[in-house]
Amino acid sequence: MVITEKERVRRLVSLPEAKPGWIRRLRQSRVAIVGIGGLGNASALYLAAQGVGHLTLIDPDEVEPHNLGRQILFGPPDVGRPKVEAACRTLRFIAPDISLAAEAAALTDEKQETLLAGHDVIVDGLDNWEARLILNRFSVHHRVPVVFAGAIGYEAQVYVVNGGKPCMQCLFGDDGFVEQSCALLGVLGPVAGMAGTVQAQEVLKLLLNTGDGLQGRIWTYDAFRNVSRVVGFTPRAQCPVCGGKEHEYGR
């Protein structure tokens, strides 16, 4: 059965804020998802379903059995296959007309231009501080929005660096963090999915220019205590990436 794009997004364009250009805007949009773990699986699923025209999926890893509890694009036959390929297969099933690029590579300083250039929004599905530094710099230097997130244990967070200040290093500093991995600390599957889903929501709001964004604000969720907060943050003095308070970006 052929489903037209119009039918796919009928409930989206029923929103009171919807504008006539929304469907075309989504269809023409290019989003890169860096890291196809718990975060990237959930965001890719919703972005594809909602009618985003192109997704670039970036991840060097293969599907492992312990991924299946939260990485919902994958099933048992995918174990051992590259994550980006397995993800593309499910996404094509969900949205047959979508354009997909699979990059089985890690984000490094050397490869950032090749992997990230030409996207309207970038989604952080990473699991470490060092690679997030690359995304943060790319956002500020190329003025591309990055929707950051993290999930571990029962906790999730999402925040946006909108191609300027304040940036990730304004909030979290320059010194790095002790690596926290889901392998060591565990993670409740839906908590990672929720963070990825909130990322997809913020990507769509950025693309459609609607609603209040998470630029300079961080959404945090503690599922153990069932507490959710949004905390604002401002440019930090002498931030080495965005310049912080000291001077306007770009001067």
């Binding site: 979290f172 963090f177 002790v178 943050f233």
Partner: protein, 66 residues
């Protein structure tokens, strides 16, 4: 000393600076960002940045997993 920490009123005795406050709360310095009255305090300044009566403090843990 009365503080508003993550939106909740708290009473913490003997809290002169951010480091003391985190120690009182049992929060690991290495995993959090701290804002005092909306201003970000970098980790290297935790020991020198003062915390005063009625300050509003936000403590945000860096959540790194993905």
């Amino acid at each position: 000393m009365r503080l508003i920490i993550n939106g909740e009123p708290r009473v913490l005795p003997g809290t002169g600076n951010v480091k003391d406050m985190l120690d009182r709360l049992g929060v690991d310095h290495q995993t959090v960002a701290v804002m005092v009255n909306g201003e970000i305090v970098v980790r290297t300044n935790f020991e020198t940045h003062p915390v005063r009566d009625n300050d509003t403090v936000e403590i945000v843990r860096f959540v790194g997993g993905g």
